[in-house]
C-alpha cells in the first residue's frame, strides 16, 4: 500500500516537475552553445515579465481544458480588455478603475462564451471560434479602429501606474509586481483545482460528463463559471498587456491563444479533459518565454524560434502520451 502511494507520489511529482525540468534543460543547452550569453538575474526578470500575459491566461485555460473545453477567444479577449482598460484610464478612472474595467470586460466575455456553449449546446471550439472574431471586432469598434493612448497634461503616455507593474527592472524591487501577481494567481488556481468543490467538479466534467451529471453536478452552471473565470484572467492579462504597450491596441495579441493553449498542453494537460496542472501551465509559459529570449540572445531569427517552439509542443505531448501508456499497463 505505502509502496504504491510512494510510486504514485513520485510519478505525480515527476509530471509536475517535467516542464520545469524542460526550462532548465533549455537554459543549459544554450549555456553550452553560447557561453558568452549567460542567463543573468536581469535576464530572468525580463523573461518573467514576458511570461505574465500568457501565464495569466494559461491559468484560466488550464481550468477550461481540464473540463474538456477550449477557449479560442482568449487573444481577442486580451485585446478587448486592454482597450477597455486604456479607455478607463483615459476617462480618468485611475489605477483601480483601469484594472477593474479590464478584468470586468474579460469576465463578461468569458461568461458570454460559457452561456453560448451551454445555452446553444455548441462545441466550445465553435462557440469560441465565433466569439474570437466577435470580440476582436468589438475591440476595434470601441477603440475607433486605432490604438487608445491615454496621455497626461504634458502629452506623454499615461497608464495610471499600470505600466509600473510590468516594468522588469525598477529600483528597490526584486521582481516586478505583475510577476508576483502571476505567481499568486497560479498558486490560487492550483489550490482551488484540488481543494474546492468547483475544482473537483471541473475535473469530473472533463473526465466524464455523464457521470458528473449522474452525481448531481450542475454541469451548465459549472461550465459558465469556468469560462467566466478564464475570461476574468484573460482580462487581467489584457490589463498587463496594456501596461506593457502603454496603449490599448485592438490589433494586439493576435494568435496568442495558441501560445496559451500550448503552455497548458506542455504543462501536462490533456485536450480530452480531466487531466492537467496549473503549475505545469505556468512552467509551459515560462519555457516558451525562455526559449524566445535565448534564441534572440544568440541572434537566431524569429522563424527559428517558431520552428523550435512547434516541436517543443509535439515533444511534450508525445512524452506525456508515452508516460500514460506506461502507467496504464
Amino acid at each position: 500500500m505505502k509502496n504504491h502511494d510512494l510510486v504514485r507520489q513520485s510519478r505525480h511529482l515527476a509530471s509536475t516537475l517535467a516542464p520545469f525540468l524542460g526550462v532548465v534543460i533549455v537554459v543549459l543547452l544554450f549555456q553550452f552553445y553560447a557561453p558568452d550569453q549567460p542567463m543573468t538575474l536581469q535576464t530572468w526578470r525580463f523573461v518573467a515579465v514576458q511570461t505574465v500575459v500568457v501565464g495569466l491566461a494559461a491559468v484560466g485555460m488550464t481550468w477550461v481544458i481540464m473540463s474538456a473545453g477550449i477557449d479560442l477567444s482568449v487573444g481577442s479577449v486580451i485585446a478587448l480588455s486592454g482597450v477597455s482598460s486604456a479607455l478607463a484610464v483615459e476617462a480618468g478612472w485611475g489605477f483601480s478603475g483601469g484594472v477593474l474595467a479590464g478584468v470586468a470586460t474579460g469576465a463578461i466575455c468569458g461568461a458570454y462564451n460559457g452561456l453560448l456553449i451551454v445555452g446553444l449546446r455548441l462545441p466550445p471550439f465553435i462557440a469560441t471560434l465565433g466569439t474570437m472574431g466577435f470580440y476582436r471586432g468589438v475591440a476595434k469598434w470601441v477603440a475607433a479602429n486605432e490604438s487608445v493612448r491615454p496621455e497626461d497634461a504634458t502629452g506623454t503616455s499615461y497608464t495610471a501606474g499600470i505600466a509600473e507593474w510590468v516594468r522588469p527592472v525598477a529600483e528597490g524591487q526584486w521582481l516586478a509586481p505583475a510577476v508576483w501577481l502571476l505567481l499568486l494567481t497560479t498558486l490560487l488556481g492550483a489550490l482551488a483545482l484540488r481543494w474546492t468543490v468547483l475544482g473537483r467538479h471541473t475535473v469530473a466534467i472533463g473526465s466524464n460528463e455523464l457521470t458528473a451529471r449522474l452525481c448531481g453536478v450542475r454541469i451548465e452552471r459549472t461550465k459558465v463559471i469556468i469560462y467566466c473565470l478564464a475570461g476574468l484572467l484573460a482580462g487581467l492579462a489584457g490589463v498587463m498587456l496594456f501596461g506593457r504597450l502603454t496603449v490599448g491596441d485592438p490589433t494586439s495579441a493576435v494568435g496568442i491563444e495558441l501560445d496559451v493553449i500550448a503552455a497548458v498542453v506542455i504543462g501536462g494537460a490533456s485536450l480530452a479533459g480531466g487531466q492537467g496542472s496549473v503549475t505545469g501551465a505556468l512552467a509551459g509559459a515560462l519555457l516558451m518565454a525562455v526559449l524566445r529570449n535565448r534564441c534572440t540572445a544568440v541572434g537566431w531569427p524569429n522563424f527559428v524560434q517558431e520552428m523550435i517552439v512547434g516541436h517543443i509542443i509535439i515533444l511534450a505531448v508525445a512524452l506525456d502520451q508515452w508516460r500514460i501508456r506506461r502507467t496504464r499497463r
Binding site: M1, H4, D5, R8, A192, R194, W195, T196, V197, L198, R200, H201, V203, A204, S207, N208, L210, T211, A212, R213, L214, C215, G216, V217, R218, T222, I225, G274, Q275, R328
Partner: protein, 499 residues
C-alpha cells in the same frame, strides 16, 4: 487416427511482473463443440483469450489450430489464422455501414479501390446464416440496436470463415429475447462445424448453450467436463473454490412508509406509462426486455431523462426530477452503464466515491481532503473493494470492484431511495452474492430499493415485489411468490394481458 481438435492450447503460462495470470492452462475445442470457459473475474479467462487473439504473447505453451502450430504475433495475424472474437464491449464502427463493418480491415480492393461488390454474396449469406437476412448491408450500424450490432460482430467472423469463434460475455448487453436468438445463432455455428469458446458469468446461460465446460481459477484449470453431467452448484463451487452458502441471502425486513409514488409517468425517451409505489424496507424488481423502458423509468424518476407527463411524489411532496434535487431529497441511482456513465474511470476511487456528495455544496467550498480519505478508506474496507488505495484509478479495477465503487457512492450519499439499474451486469458470482446481500441489508435498514434486471432468477431471488415492463408500459406490482420465470417471461414478451 482421430482428427486433431480445431483448437488446442497446451501448458500456457503468463505472468505480469510478479503476478501469475496463467500457469499451465489448457483448452481444447473440437469442431462442432461449444465450450464454456468460466471463472471469477481475474481467474485468467481474458488473459487466455488475449493470448489466443494475439494481443498478448504467452511466456510458455503452444497453440494448435486444426493440428497446425499457431503463434500469432499480433491481432491481425490471429484473425488471419482463423480466430474471431466477439467482445463484451462491442467493437463496431457506428459511422460505417453493416457491410463496411463486416469487411473492416480486410476490404476487398484493387489498386486501393474499395470493391465491396466482390464480397456481397458472403455478406448476405453470413447475415442469412444468423437468421437476419432482413438487415441491409448498406444500413449504418448507428441505426441498429445493441443486439443487432452484436450480430454484425458475429457475422464478421462468418464472412472471414473463421473456424474458431470466441464469445466474451456476449449477453451482458442483451435482453432475454435477444439472448435466445443468440443461442440459436450459436447452435447454427455448432452445426456448421465451428469451434466455439463461450465465456460467461451466467451459469444458467452456460448450461443452456454449451456442450462442455472448463473452469479457471487463479490461472489454473481446476476442472472440466460435460455440461450434461454437472450441476450449477458444482460449477459455482469449482469457480470460487468453496461452497457458495447461499446465493440470495435473506435479510429479514419490514415494509414501511411510502417513499416514492409515481403516477402515470411518461418520458420523452420511450417510457409510455408507469405507476409505481416504493416503500421503505422493500425491494421492488422491474423485469422486462432490454429497451422496454425499464432504464427510462429509473432515469425519469431521478431526473436524467426528460419527463413529458405524470407525477412523482417523494415522501408525499411533489418531486422535481433533477439529479441534484434527487440527491438532496435522498434518491440515488446506479447507472447500468458503468464505464460510460456510472463512473469516471480515469479518476481515482476516492474521487468517484465522493463525487455526488459535493453537489449540494457551494462552489467555492473548501474540500476536507484528509477527512474524505478517511471516509473512503472506511468504504473500501466495508465493501471489500480490492484496490491498493483510494488513489487508484477506477479503470484499473475489475468489473466487480468497479461496481462496488458505484454502489458505495450511493451509500456514501446516504440516500433513502436506491434505484439500481442492472447492478450485477458483468460481475463475477462472488461479487454478485455480495451485491445481493447489500440490497437486502439496505432494505433492512429501512431504505427502499428498486432493481432493474434482465436476470429473472436474480429478481425472483432478491425482490419482495416485481413489476414487468412491456413496450414502455409498466404492469402492476405483484408479490414475488406470485411470479415464476415463465410468467415473468410471458409478461415481458407479451405484456400484462398475456400473463
Amino acid at each position: 487416427m482421430t482428427r486433431p481438435p480445431l483448437l488446442e492450447m497446451l501448458g500456457v503460462d503468463k505472468a505480469f511482473g510478479a503476478t501469475v495470470a496463467l500457469s499451465g492452462a489448457h483448452l481444447r475445442v473440437e469442431a462442432g463443440e461449444v465450450r464454456a470457459l468460466i471463472g471469477e473475474n481475474g481467474a485468467g479467462k481474458s488473459t487466455l483469450m488475449r493470448i489466443l487473439s494475439g494481443v498478448e504473447s504467452a511466456d510458455a505453451g503452444t497453440i494448435h489450430i486444426a493440428g497446425q502450430l499457431f503463434s500469432p504475433g499480433n491481432p491481425q495475424q490471429a484473425r488471419e489464422g482463423g480466430i474471431a472474437m466477439v467482445h463484451q464491449e462491442l467493437a463496431v464502427v457506428e459511422d460505417l455501414s453493416v457491410e463496411e463493418n463486416l469487411l473492416l480491415g480486410r476490404e476487398p480492393s484493387r489498386g486501393g479501390l474499395f470493391l465491396p461488390g466482390q464480397m456481397r454474396d458472403r455478406v448476405v449469406s453470413s447475415l442469412a446464416l444468423l437468421g437476419r437476412e432482413e438487415i441491409q448491408p448498406s444500413t449504418p450500424v448507428s441505426q441498429l440496436s445493441v443486439a443487432e450490432r452484436q450480430l454484425v460482430e458475429i457475422a464478421r467472423a462468418l464472412v472471414h470463415d473463421a473456424p474458431v469463434i470466441v464469445f466474451d460475455e456476449p449477453t451482458s448487453s442483451l435482453g432475454s429475447q435477444d439472448i435466445e436468438h443468440l443461442f440459436e445463432v450459436i447452435g447454427r455455428l455448432r452445426q456448421d462445424g465451428r469451434a466455439v469458446v463461450y465465456i460467461s458469468h451466467f451459469l444458467e446461460e452456460v448450461q443452456s448453450v454449451a456442450d462442455t465446460w472448463t473452469v479457471l481459477r487463479d490461472g489454473e484449470v481446476v476442472g472440466e467436463g460435460l455440461i450434461s453431467e454437472t450441476t450449477t452448484e458444482d460449477l459455482v463451487s469449482q469457480m470460487i473454490g468453496r461452497q457458495l452458502e447461499e446465493m440470495y441471502p435473506q435479510v429479514p425486513r419490514q415494509r414501511g412508509d411510502v417513499l416514492i409514488e409515481v403516477r402515470d409517468l411518461k418520458t420523452r425517451t420511450g417510457l409510455r406509462s408507469a405507476d409505481l409505489t416504493m416503500h421503505r424496507g422493500d425491494v421492488l424488481g422491474i423485469a422486462g426486455l432490454v429497451g422496454s423502458g425499464r432504464s427510462e423509468l429509473l432515469r425519469g424518476i431521478y431526473g436524467l431523462d426528460a419527463i413529458e407527463s405524470g407525477s412523482i411524489e417523494l415522501l408525499g411532496k411533489p418531486h422535481r426530477p433533477d439529479p441534484t434535487a434527487s440527491i438532496q431529497g435522498g434518491v440515488g441511482l446506479a447507472s447500468e452503464d458503468r464505464k460510460e456513465e456510472g463512473l469516471a474511470v480515469d479518476l481515482s476511487v476516492a474521487t468517484n466515491l465522493t463525487l455526488g456528495s459535493f453537489s449540494a455544496r457551494h462552489f467555492f467550498s473548501i474540500l476536507g481532503l484528509s477527512k474524505e480519505r478517511e471516509q473512503v478508506e472506511v468504504w473500501i474496507d466495508r465493501f471489500g473493494i480490492r484496490t491498493w488505495g483510494p488513489d487508484q484509478s477506477v479503470r484499473t479495477l475489475s468489473g466487480g470492484n468497479q461496481q462496488k465503487v458505484a454502489l458505495a457512492r450511493l451509500l456514501h450519499l446516504d440516500v433513502d431511495a436506491v434505484l439500481l439499474d442492472e447492478p450485477t451486469r458483468g460481475i463475477d458470482v462472488g461479487s454478485k452474492a455480495e451485491v445481493y446481500r447489500w440490497i437486502g441489508e439496505l432494505a433492512a435498514q429501512d431504505k427502499g430499493v428498486v432493481v432493474v434486471s434482465s436476470s429473472m432468477q436474480e429478481l425472483l431471488g432478491i425482490c419482495d415485489r416485481i413489476q414487468v415492463m412491456h413496450r414502455g408500459v409498466l404492469g402492476t406490482a405483484r408479490p414475488v411468490e406470485k411470479w415464476d420465470e415463465h410468467s415473468l417471461m410471458v409478461s415481458a414478451v407479451g405484456g400484462e394481458e398475456a400473463a
